[in-house]
Amino acid sequence: MTHAATTRVARSIDVIDAEAVRAALERCRRVVERHAAYLTRLDAVLGDGDHGDNLVIGFRAVDELLAELPADASPGEVLRAVGHRLVATVGGASGPLYGTAFLEAGARIGDAPAVQVNELAAMVQAAADGLARRGRCAVGDKTILDTLSPAAYGLDAGIAAGDPAATAYGAAVRMAARGMRSTRPLVARRGLAMRLGDRARGHLDPGAVSCLLLLRAIGGG
């Protein structure tokens, strides 16, 4: 039921309200649960092998948070609270980084009860900027940003060109996927994978992969 409703939000409705945000977050939990083992396997190569498990713990904690939040919490308030919860519950570097992304996206829209769907581009951009600042990373460092930054750019370009939100978002996810795949030949310049040097080549960055999964889930599955 929620699934169908939010799909409509992304495809035909031109405002994002708290209900849509909550539904998107629930899809995020389901997707990380489904792909946890894969993410952990990727992380075992480059990091400490807990990325999938950590995200599952984080998004289950988000589930609990959503139940605790007042029903009339604004979309911005929900996103900021989710950011705080992710920072507090997700182990490793991905907790603070994803937490920052949600916090910054939430901070971007303040306390408006609903935001125009066009605002989504600015939200993703704010998330990417915040994450880059916090992680002191740039595109090409083999991080989450390699997926998130092309998504922000694609979304902004699509909406600026006047595309319907759903079309723009679809194109942005495709660009994000390309960005995710581009991490495979890279040498990591951030995080524990830095220690591997050239040995990091040939492996996808687990954060870049989880970011794509989350972007798809947010877009409606």
Binding site: A93, P96, L97, T100, A107, G130, R133, R134, G135, R136, R189, R190, G191, L192, M194, R195, G197
Partner: protein, 506 residues
């Protein structure tokens, strides 16, 4: 009214500014915290000094917003600073950050980007982590030194030619080196974890009961054993005599014991050989001496008929010859073992060598038993004629000595590639199979010869082998190829260079 509104607006704006300011402040604090977290994760990830230095330095350079950086570590002695990591191109005017002033000193230098400034927050992060960084680097350096020491010690243990075995408190093998694996005939990896009694097989080999194990003795707090002989089970299951030291390492519950053992069976065999030599030589010396003395005393004390006197003098002469040849042999051996042989080579023919041999034999007995079977047109050999004469006299002499009176000794020769192969066949007692490889060792005499009481020192064949080898050839003794009882001695001599060429072309 308007004033109220303006005041209110100003108040709202001030609050909004304050909210933004505190948000940015919170962001900065969170950024610094996260930078600290990431740095501490890298520091804690350990690894080699080079890996750790490179990763941590890149992180510090990024955190400080620098364009380049370098890391210096003091050596453990504190005498100098080593540059252990570099990132980017260093310029002038770097920012020095002493991470640790206590030895080993740790110094970080970061260079700001062109026309830019360093990130003060980032520098603070590095400053805050300086103690952890210094400890991590000192730890990495220590690990490296330990690892190097471990490898060096391992190389010594593995490269040793002695068996080195270490057992734990339960008597299970913790380590067995390669030499040990070879001696015991087991895979060193598979030995680990098995009981030492099982691996060394001391009890099975008849050394001592498991309870009386020297390893257990030192493990139980006994004094180190500087030297003890024992027996272990060798690669083929046979007992192997070993000797060495035993010592316990480290006290407490997990006390281990190490044995360093050397295979002494060769030394033992050599000792037996020497004892045999002393017995043989003294016997061989005493017999003719007793004869000489006996006959001489008889001649001095009794009035004998002239023909009787002559018989006694002949006996004395014979005994003197035996003594002379014995002394010659012993001197030869001493000489052969001490000096490289200098050969006076010349080209000569097999016929010449045989003629010379016959000349020698005329003086002794049995020349008539020697038959020569060789092609007439054998190519010349390039040898020391006197030395080869010695070889032939010895081998043919042996054949005559150990074969029954009246039996033939056949001397043969044939060409094989660049070599003349000389064979001597007799119908004697033969050489037992076990002794065939050993009879050319000094002082070794085959058991059937020892029992036959035929006199000999066990040196003749050794001398022959050394002389043949000095010519580049090989000497071997074995059964006759025609299956008849007796021995075939076989040795090779180099053909004269021109002849060798002709033989090769033929």
């Amino acid at each position: 009214m308007d004033d109220d509104r303006e005041a209110l607006t100003a108040r709202v704006e001030a609050l909004e500014r304050e909210r933004r300011r505190s948000f940015v402040e919170a962001q900065r604090e969170a950024d610094a915290l996260f930078a600290q977290y990431q740095l501490s994760q890298l520091i804690a990830s350990g690894g080699s000094l080079a890996d750790l230095g490179a990763a941590v330095l890149s992180e510090l350079v990024r955190v400080a917003g620098a364009a380049a950086g370098a890391l210096w570590l003091g050596d453990p002695g504190g005498d100098r600073l080593d540059r252990v990591a570099d990132v980017g191109m260093a310029t002038s005017g770097g920012h020095h950050l002493i991470l640790s002033d206590d030895p080993p000193q740790t110094v970080l230098v970061v260079w700001p980007p062109d026309g830019g400034a360093l990130d003060e927050d980032g520098l603070r992060v590095a400053q805050l982590a300086r103690h952890e960084l210094a400890v991590a680097f000192a730890g990495a350096r220590l690990r490296e030194a330990l690892e190097q020491e471990r490898q060096e010690l391992g190389a010594i243990v593995e490269g040793a030619t002695d068996l080195i075995v270490q057992v734990d408190a339960e008597g299970s093998v913790v380590r067995l080196n390669r030499a040990g694996g070879r001696l015991l005939g087991i895979d060193t990896g598979l030995a680990v974890g098995r009981s030492c009694a099982d691996v060394l097989g001391c009890e099975v080999a008849g050394a001592h009961r498991v309870e009386a194990c020297p390893l257990a003795e030192v493990r139980a707090g006994g004094d180190p054993i500087a030297y003890r002989e024992t027996v272990v089970r060798g690669a083929g299951g046979q007992p192997v005599q070993v000797a060495g030291s035993y010592a316990a390492s480290a006290g407490g519950e997990s006390v281990r014991a190490t044995a360093i053992l050397r295979d002494i069976s060769a030394v033992r065999a050599l000792e037996e050989l020497r004892e045999g030599f002393v017995a043989t030589v003294s016997h061989e010396l005493r017999t003719p001496l007793a004869l000489i003395r006996g006959y001489a005393e008889t001649l001095l004390n009794l009035e004998l008929a002239p023909d009787q006197q002559r018989v006694y003098l002949e006996r004395i002469d014979e005994a003197t010859r035996r003594l002379t040849s014995l002394v010659d042999e012993v001197l030869d051996v001493t000489h052969l073992q001490a000096d490289p042989l200098i050969l006076e080579r010349s080209n000569t023919t097999f016929d010449t060598l045989v003629a010379r041999l016959r000349g020698d034999l005329v003086l002794g007995s049995g020349a008539e038993r020697l038959r020569v079977q060789a092609p007439v047109d054998l190519p010349p050999v390039n040898v020391d004629v006197a030395r080869v004469g010695q070889i032939l006299a010895n081998l043919v002499g042996n054949a005559l000595k150990y074969a029954p009176d009246g039996s033939d000794v056949v001397l043969g020769a044939a060409v094989d590639a660049d070599w003349l192969v000389v064979t001597i066949d007799d119908e004697g007692v033969g050489i037992p199979e076990d002794d065939q490889a050993l009879v050319t060792e000094p002082f070794h005499r085959a058991w059937n010869v020892r029992e036959s009481r035929i006199p000999g020192t066990g040196l003749g064949l050794f001398i022959c082998r050394r002389l043949v080898e000095a010519h580049g050839g090989r000497l071997s003794l074995g059964d006759r190829p025609d299956g008849r009882p007796g021995t075939r001695a076989n040795f090779t001599l180099p053909l004269a260079p021109a002849a060798a060429g002709v033989a090769a072309r033929a």
